[in-house]
Amino acid sequence: MKRKTLMINLAVPLMAVLFSLAVGALFILITGKNPFFVYSILFSGIFGNLYGIGQLFFYATPLIFTGLAVAFAFKAGLFNIGCEGQLYMGSLLCAWTGCVFSGLPGLLLIPVCLAAAAAGGAAWGFIPGMLKAKTGAHEVITTIMLNFIALAFTNYIVTSHFFVPGTVRTPQIAAAARLPAIAGILPGFKGSSLNFSFFIALAAALAVWYILYLSRFGYELRAMGYNPAAGEYAGVDSSKMMIVTLAVSGGISGLVGSNYVMGYKYYFEQGFSGGVGFMGIAVALLGKNHPFGIIAASLLFGGLSFGSLLVNSVVPKEILDILQAVVILSVVVGNTVFSRILLRNSATGDDKPDTQRADAIIGEQVSREGLRRK
């Protein structure tokens, strides 16, 4: 049965991607272009040379961070919609640290800057965690609102206090704080912005996977996510868990700063994220909230972002935005539809637990007195 779950988890996103390519082809036809031609530009542009692959990884890097952040919170039953704000706070603090502590040697400054990025994001995740634990304020609302505050706050800082005149960006961080570009080590990647941050993202995915699935902390976190009442019965301090989870989630978001600030432009610039904080939700969804799935989903969405630049000369880049949207839609729909089809055909009764689980969920709204049991 485990194998079947895995099969669905792989098959659904795959079908979603194929389906969206088909829909995209339709739109390309409408614009009067040949879809095969456009797709061949797309694929050869990405996979045809190391530059393309480098850019693919580069665009995927911030998505891995934000996807992990969303998934980590989700496993605890929390919706972190505030990655955008968290990554802005983290990145700004990262840039500030990289400028102010320029005297430190690289071996020290790089970890300090990474810690600053994580801390800035964590602080911005801590606040909704705290609000939820102490007052019950729903984290969806608070994280969204905090996005606006973070955006306005960083905007204010880079226009009034800490900026290069005539721009909306900070000064460049010290050379010792910069993450090496991959092109500097492997010349084949020349021109690509891919930098060491990609490996930090992979390491983060590995760490999240370990924490969620192999540690006791993760055991308690997921127990709370699945069944808060049982978590509490089992002695999990749900308030503490909420705060810690959202802070960690925010910290992971903040690490986006390692890619842009430490590895690419070497400064913080207003509006740099291009919405990766929100894309993280889609990435987590497509990656089924699993760290490895998130890496794959990030590569897909990263590829589409990069690809939109590649095909821009032939078709409007909005075509690829449509692809992204269709992928997300088909995953959402596909989850239920495909699972149902796959399960029904196999006739092994796996859908029995599914109805039970649905009961468990619906049961929240249904009479409590009706003890939910078999």
């Binding site: 540690s215 006791r216 069944n227 009442a229 796996d350 039970q356 249904v366």
Partner: protein
């Protein structure tokens, strides 16, 4: 020409690794009350789910009144006059009873719901069979027994002639059971057919005309209730004779383990759920708490456990004040708790059996090495040991908990909590929804713990259970302890009256 109301022919249904139903033949006559008994996991619920179109057989046919029917889904079942009342009720709390009953089949006048027409029909059904349901009440305010009746009326409202009741008495008080049986007899008299799933043989003998016994996915036999008795049925059910004789030795009073002094607790609405409750639990003692469900017994345990905050009073565990202890500390202090609602509190259904065995004691050495590392090997070993000790089916520690039957889920909780070796065990309905073979195991375990000098608070709606196990019995009524007695000084009838407040201690003496 008389057809059988329901005929199941050669039904076979397999789940991965399990044959839930093996070539089952079942015939239910028109207008009879037909009980289906069997242990947990014997395949009763699966069979009924197939009949109701919730699941699909691999092989075999369903014949309704002589016509072969493909039960695609419950809509097909309903259109053939079959209705099912599940153990967990499907009611919207905030709706009135009438709104719940008509939901999905609302009588209409133009584009609007004609609730008055619905009310008339409900009242007619209610009067005809003696349901006496308050159609205008908000559903959430009603006791469990009433909710169940609303479910039955809902099924009748949809025109069901054949009713399937899945363990209908599990959540009811003795009084409510009596009332339910009256209704069932009325239904039968008026030509309805009732299929009644249970594992309580006493009820079978009382209400059913015929009984089909299932064992390990197959039919072990069919009997007229007039021509059999409980001991024969229980032998058919589990293949051997069961002894629920507990054979207790007199408890010798030793030290006080747990003490409550004047504990009060208010629920969300500010109503007193516990009102000045004082009690003492000694080592080597089983203290039974009898009461109609919802009179504060569960609140009492949750307050001791730390899930609910008391508003006044003190709780002492072995002389130490634990009044405001949170559950994590409670566990460390040597208490264990079998919660009343296993799916809500006791289990994470998405987790495997092994993971659930660790729930609440995940910090123990057998289950994790510090906060950063789970001990999967230890967890599996421990689980295997408990699985075999309590005969949990399926015996695979990796199986998700939601795939287990209710009784086996309960076994996980009981095994885990007793295995923790607590000095005080809080047990709420430890045998609820569990078949007689397992009841025997659980009784044995509880008595073993008692013999080791542990103190056990036993909350149960089964009076026979309270009487069989307890050394002392406290009766709770609307949040207060209204009486104390012991098994050798009282009987079920008297306890039942004390529980409903119809006699007080003073009158009794």
């Amino acid at each position: 020409m008389a057809f059988l109301a329901v005929e199941l022919r050669n039904i076979t249904k397999t789940f991965p690794g399990v044959i839930a139903n093996n070539n089952i033949n079942l015939g239910v006559k028109d207008g009879e009350i037909h009980a289906i008994v069997g242990e947990n996991g014997a395949g009763k619920s699966t069979l009924m789910n197939i009949l109701y179109g919730l699941e699909h057989q691999d092989k075999g046919n369903i014949v309704i009144r002589g016509k072969k029917v493909r039960m695609e889904n419950p809509h097909v079942a309903i259109s053939h006059g079959i209705g099912m009342v599940h153990q967990h009720f499907m009611l919207v709390r905030r709706f009135t009873v009438a709104e719940n009953i008509v939901l999905g089949r609302e009588p209409r006048r133009g584009p609007f719901t004609d609730i008055r027409k619905g009310l008339e029909k409900i009242r007619e059904i209610s009067d005809r069979y003696g349901f006496g349901i308050p159609a205008g009440e908000i559903t959430g305010n009603l006791p469990v027994g009433m909710l169940q009746r609303a479910e039955i009326v809902k099924v009748l409202y949809r025109g069901a002639k054949i009713l399937i009741l899945d363990e209908p008495t599990a959540v009811l008080t003795p009084q409510e059971v009596k009332e339910l049986f009256l209704i069932l007899r009325n239904l039968k008299e008026q030509g309805h057919t009732v299929i009644f799933i249970t594992h309580k043989l006493k009820e079978v003998m009382e209400i059913a005309d015929r009984v089909t016994v299932m064992r390990k996915g197959a039919v072990a036999g069919v009997r007229q209730t007039g021509e059999t008795d409980e001991s024969e049925l229980s032998r058919m059910m589990i293949g051997r004779t069961v002894y629920l004789e507990t054979g207790r030795k007199k408890a010798e009073k030793k030290e006080t383990l747990l003490e409550l002094r004047g504990v009060s607790l208010e629920d969300e609405k500010g109503v007193k759920a516990l009102d000045n409750v004082s009690l003492e639990l000694s080592s080597g003692e089983i203290l039974g708490i009898a009461g109609v469900e919802g009179n504060g017994q569960n609140d009492l345990l949750e307050a001791v456990w730390g899930l609910k905050k008391t508003s006044s009073g003190k709780i002492y565990l072995m002389g130490r004040d634990i009044t405001r202890l949170e559950p994590a500390r409670a566990r460390r202090e040597g208490m264990s708790y079998i919660p009343a609602d296993r799916q809500r509190h006791g289990l994470v259904l998405e987790y495997s059996v092994a993971f659930n065995m660790a729930l609440g004691r995940q910090a123990d050495r057998s289950f994790s090495h510090g906060i950063w590392k789970m001990n999967f090997t230890g967890m599996r070993e421990k689980s295997r040991q408990m699985i075999s000790e309590y005969n949990i089916v399926p015996g695979n520690p990796g199986a998700p908990a939601y795939s287990l039957s209710g009784g086996n889920q309960q076994k996980i909780v009981v095994a885990r909590e007793i295995d923790r070796n607590p000095s005080v065990l809080l047990a709420a309905h430890p045998t609820r929804g569990v078949d007689i073979g397992v009841v025997e195991i659980i009784y044995k375990k509880l008595l073993e713990e008692r013999a080791k000098g542990k103190g056990i608070i036993l909350v149960s709606s089964e009076l026979s259970e309270i009487l069989a196990l307890s050394d002392r019995i406290l009766v709770m009524f609307s949040g207060r302890i209204t009486g104390e007695t012991s098994p050798d000084k009282t009987c079920e009838e008297e306890l039942g009256m004390m529980m409903t407040g119809s006699i007080s201690m003073q009158e009794r003496q």
